[in-house]
Amino acid sequence: LDRKLAESMVAAVAPPSPSSSPSQSIELVILPHHAVYDGRGSFANSAWLQELPDPVSRIVWGNSASISPATASRLGLAEADLVEVAVGGAAVRLPVVIQRGMADDVVATTLGHGHTAGGVVAVEAGGANLAALLGRQDPRCPRVAVGVTLKKVGPAAPLAVVRTQKERRQHGRAIALAGSLAEYRRDPAFASTHQHLPPPGDTFPPYDYSKGPKWGIAIDLSACVGCGACATACQVENNIAVVGRDQCQRGRQMHWLRIDRYEDGPLDDPDIHFQPMLCQHCDTAPCESVCPVNATSHSGDGLNEMVYNRCVGTRYCQNNCPYKVRRFNFLRYGQFPPREPAGELAYNPRVTVRGVGVMEKCTFCVHRIKQARYEAYQAGAKIPDGRIQTACQRACPAGAIVFGDQNDPAGRLGSLIRSPRSYRVLAELNTKPNVFYLARVDNPAAGPRPGDAASQPARMEQGDSRHS
């Protein structure tokens, strides 16, 4: 939020505050929640939405009070402190989240939590109900208030703030690549200069993909806004379990497709990168060679397949996967509680429900591929380009995800792969992934940014001097 804009907006409706104590200058902004919006029943009671991480903070299950690092240090607050946010005689208790890149002296929180009724999930999701603060200062501007006080009342409950991603930065690794328009004009293939590809050569003989299709996905990082619609679409399509707050805190969320979020540049105004991360269906998949029982193997059309029935759950594949996209059923996640006898009707009948002790991961929506192949077989034709769309692709509002056949020279996927922006994550490890990322190109000088010109973020590739 533009601070000056908000201040001028608030100044128009509220009388200037007589006091000048520092805490009086804090503004409150109440936003709709990224997933459950205002908390209406069909949203708040959806575990899929509750477990969809916030695009930037990666927080699941519940709401919190976000403040900038400078504000936190000024107020003496630490991450996950419980604070009382008071305005006009009403107060709400929320855990503090320190959010880099936020404007100083603003506390932001979201609607849609703190249910006492409205379904099992809505109530168990917890969080605080912001209704008491809405319009407390000025009914004409219900979601904004100035002169808010923040008072620490103690440490938050142990699981009050649960993030699915703990580390913020890329540590100089060439993972989510981005460049400015000027850089792109200078060298359209700027992304590939960050990677040192190994000399060709493999331990095991390569597969022959020439006889049929070889599936792949291209993801345009320029288009991705990190909303997470793909992650939830994948979850719905593939019967992926929701595991709850406690299991998320332990790092056991089951999303086959997740959005990785990285921060680059200065701490007070970082540059945010989003990167959808899913099984890369590597040609030389590290997971396949280590499974002792052949539960994960390669198909003739380039898929890395997971045979649930054969899996004994050694988790060796998970350790060996550099992308960490494999998901393990640590507990009986897929089992509906007895109180929901009709719960199984929520499952997609075309996808196997996994039991306890079994590894799972993205299949490239193999059931959709099989369906299309069957139809093409009946029609006696080849599968037309664009006929198969994965669930994530269908859900992406920006059209950032494209599935297709790499062997089809005229296909849309092929044209994206041939783009100079195309690169593959951790290609230096010789995994030969079949997910292609198109490096983000943006034009930071063109649009207005909050703050002055000095706070322009340092580009990741500038900080990464090793490759220059």
Partner: protein, 467 residues
């Protein structure tokens, strides 16, 4: 033999110093009494107390396994990205413990180190029990042990689905399986003459029958001895190769994987040295506890304690060298992620474990260069206990710190063990020590026939030799 005075009490302190050959201070009958006495008398109060303690821990082990199988691996601390936790650490730890037994019984036998006979039986038993305990962990750490127990072994099946022989875990099944079986047979062959002695001494007909059964009708004829000696040297040779191979293959679980911090060629020799080091420390620990407990000071003398300590300090240097080389290679290799893992071990969130490892495995054992420390059980004991701790920490450092921060920072996480993890760790010691206590009760803890033969070879008959 409860009516006779225990032979250890008739000995002068000099006899427990062990300057001469094994059992030098004892007559043959005294020697027999010392070895078989504990098997024939009613267990002491100390034994029952010890069994109650270790048995309780063994029950805890079973309870934790029931919880794990009943509810899922989720009761442990493992997660994404740390898929392998305490179970694999404990597995590598216990397999390592077993190694000293084989080293002492096989390699030292082949090298004609006769002093080994006093502790060989004991350390072989330790090997068997350690392997038994170790095997529980990889099985129950799988998500579906009820399938893993069949599908990891190449049984015939109607679907013609076989194992993936590219997987180091399959190599592990064969390596550890071979090791367990060969160690068991080697141990049992060595036991046969002593079981026959126990049979001959037994007054109770049931005992006589059972030991007779177990001794396979051993008569002690020259022909039987010739066969026995041949079999023994054969198994010693086999086991010698296994000491090297088993932990090398266990290290492949890590070295053949792809993870920075695991993918290193130094692991096979590093693991073997570490295994022998930790195993020697465990032998020393048990020897120092059981020597006074079962009054075996005249058989397992200060000389044996000192020799064990010398081996401990030698292997400590090997392990320390491995640490330095691992550090150097990760820098010299020039791979950013590899170097990151190394630095993260030393100064990251698990730095305490790393420095405990360095202190216990490399720094403190250097005190064993001092003769008085080597020869004083009270001084050596804390050092060898420290090595046990340090070697467990080494496996923790290798297993956990490599996984918790790997290639993609987005997936970094922490590993926090749960009470079930700790229960299984404590419980595994309970199972192991319970087996050790039962072994001391029912089987000859010292290879009496070998000690006698060793004594005979020395041509130095001791006083009081009445046999």
């Amino acid at each position: 033999m409860s009516d006779t005075v225990h032979p250890a009490e008739t000995l002068s302190p000099a006899a427990t110093d062990g300057a001469g050959p094994n059992g030098a201070g004892l007559g043959l009958r005294q020697l027999d009494d010392a070895v078989y006495g504990p098997m024939e008398s009613f267990p002491t109060r100390r034994w029952w107390l010890a069994l109650a303690a270790t048995g309780s821990l063994a029950v805890l082990f079973v309870v934790c396994l029931v919880i794990t199988v009943g509810q899922g691996i989720g009761r442990w601390g493992v997660n994404q990205p740390v898929g392998w936790g305490f179970a694999i650490i404990n597995f590598v730890f216990w397999i390592g413990i077993g190694h000293a037994g084989t080293l002492i019984s096989a390699i030292l036998y082949v090298l004609r180190q006769t002093w080994r006979t006093a502790i060989s039986r004991f350390s072989e038993a330790m090997t068997i029990f350690a392997v038994l305990v170790a095997l529980q962990f990889p099985l129950f750490h799988t998500g579906r042990p009820w399938n893993a127990i069949f599908w990891l072994i190449p049984f015939y099946n109607d679907m013609s689905v076989y194992q993936n022989f590219r997987s180091p875990l399959i190599w592990d099944v064969f390596a550890v399986g071979t090791y367990g079986l060969v160690s068991l047979m080697f141990w049992y062959i060595g036991l046969v003459p002593d079981l026959a002695s126990a049979r001959d001494r037994a007054a109770d007909p049931t005992r006589k029958f059972l030991y007779g059964l177990a001794s396979l009708g051993w008569v002690g004829s020259a022909r039987a001895w010739v066969h026995y000696e041949k079999a023994y040297i054969l198994f010693a040779g086999l086991s010698t190769a296994l000491v090297i191979s088993v932990h090398s293959v266990v290290s492949f679980d890590f070295a053949a994987a792809f993870l920075p911090g695991w993918h290193t060629t130094i692991f096979p020799p590093y693991f073997v040295a570490g295994a022998i080091f930790s195993g020697l420390a465990m032998v020393s620990t048990l020897v120092l506890i059981l020597r006074p407990m079962f009054r075996l000071q005249h058989l397992i003398t200060i000389r044996h304690v000192e020799l064990l300590n010398k081996l401990t300090v030698a292997t400590s240097l090997m392990v320390g060298y491995s640490y330095v080389m691992e550090l150097f290679m990760s820098w010299y290799g020039g791979m950013e992620m590899e170097w990151f893992v190394t630095v993260n071990r030393a100064i990251g969130p698990y730095a305490v474990c790393y420095w405990v490892m360095v202190a216990c495995n490399v720094a403190f054992p250097q005190l064993l260069w001092i003769r008085r420390v080597r020869r004083t059980p009270a001084l050596a004991f804390p050092i060898v206990i420290g090595v046990n701790v340090g070697m467990w920490m080494e496996r923790f450092v290798i297993v956990v710190t490599s996984q918790h921060r790997d290639s993609l920072p987005s997936s970094w996480g922490m590993y926090y063990p749960t009470w079930v993890d700790y229960g299984l760790l404590a419980g595994s010691f309970g199972v192991f020590l319970t087996l050790v206590l039962l072994f001391c009760r029912f089987l000859p803890t010292v290879a009496a026939t070998e000690v006698k033969a060793d004594r005979g070879n020395s041509h130095r008959p001791a006083e009081g030799d009445v046999s």
